[in-house]
Assembly symmetry: C2
Homo-oligomer: 153 residues x 2
DNA sequence: TATGAAAAACCACGATG
DNA sequence: CATCGTGGTTTTTCATA
């Protein structure tokens, strides 16, 4: 399941997590390696699925998703049919950027991105139309002290 | 604050959010534009900060962060000195990938990535050594139904 | 280290709505 | 008159011998 990383691999990944536009030369230097050796390692980690992909990150406010909401979902009915509906809703609704099943009786946390509070309300209505939910509580994010895609290495 | 996006911009961003390795030609085709026009728009959006950066995404399990934890933090002492300590801890600890101040009396949600439960305990000790916290409750993620960096456009 | 192929980065002009 | 498309040049980076 997990790939055996050494310090050099970690340096390569750390640099790429921060900025994937680095040229092979710059990356190799950051890792303390020759350009070629660095390229081979990167390629290997891509093949092994350690590197999942390359994406651009957008500024949420500038694309009209200024509001982030954590939605705690509790449900009494945890049968297969419900699960299916829930999965479908999560897949369909692009406002849901994270859906996490938690420890402690069927309990989900949703991370939701919308423009503002009215937009959240509209989202909420879409959600409950797709899945019967017994207990929902939304908490709005006032400020992000940190919000990164960089994993600790 | 927010950039005025049209449908073509949205198509460009949607494609890049999914895969930033697309060549200009492929991206232009996805957007229904010539290569150059597409490049001009992309550059503009980079300049405006709509595109924040390009990064690689890693597989958490394969780099030894299989466990994701949501930590709810409540504090009674919300003075400036405390805030400073908290900010510092958030900055210093790489296991914290998200720190969000929430609505409803000083309340934080931390998103934390660690290897396993013992690693979470070690993180917890580091955290409370850095900041006095009156009330912490951790919820462990059992399964991700969704976890994406793609914002709804 | 060298090298050929490919893509990106940029410029200028005329067309279009 | 913004923005498009075309077609060019120069530069960089890749990927491999």
């Amino acid at each position: 399941m997990n790939f055996n990383l050494d310090d050099i691999d970690r340096r390569i990944l750390a640099a790429l997590q921060r900025d994937a536009t680095l040229s092979m030369d710059a990356l190799a230097e950051a890792a303390g390696l020759s350009r070629n050796a660095c390229w081979r390692r990167m390629r290997q980690m891509e093949g092994a699925g350690v590197i999942r992909g390359r994406v651009v990150l957008l500024d949420p406010a500038k694309v009209g998703c200024a509001l982030q909401v954590f939605v705690m979902v509790r449900t009494s009915s945890h049968d297969a049919a419900w699960m299916e509906k829930f999965d479908r809703a999560v897949r369909i609704l692009p406002e849901i950027v994270g859906a996490h099943r938690m420890t402690g009786d069927l309990d989900y946390v949703l991370r939701v991105r919308v423009a503002d509070v009215p937009a959240y309300d509209a989202f909420y209505k879409k959600l409950i139309a797709l899945v019967p939910l017994s207990d929902i509580s939304a908490s709005f994010v006032m400020e992000d002290n940190k919000d990164t895609t960089e994993l600790p290495l």
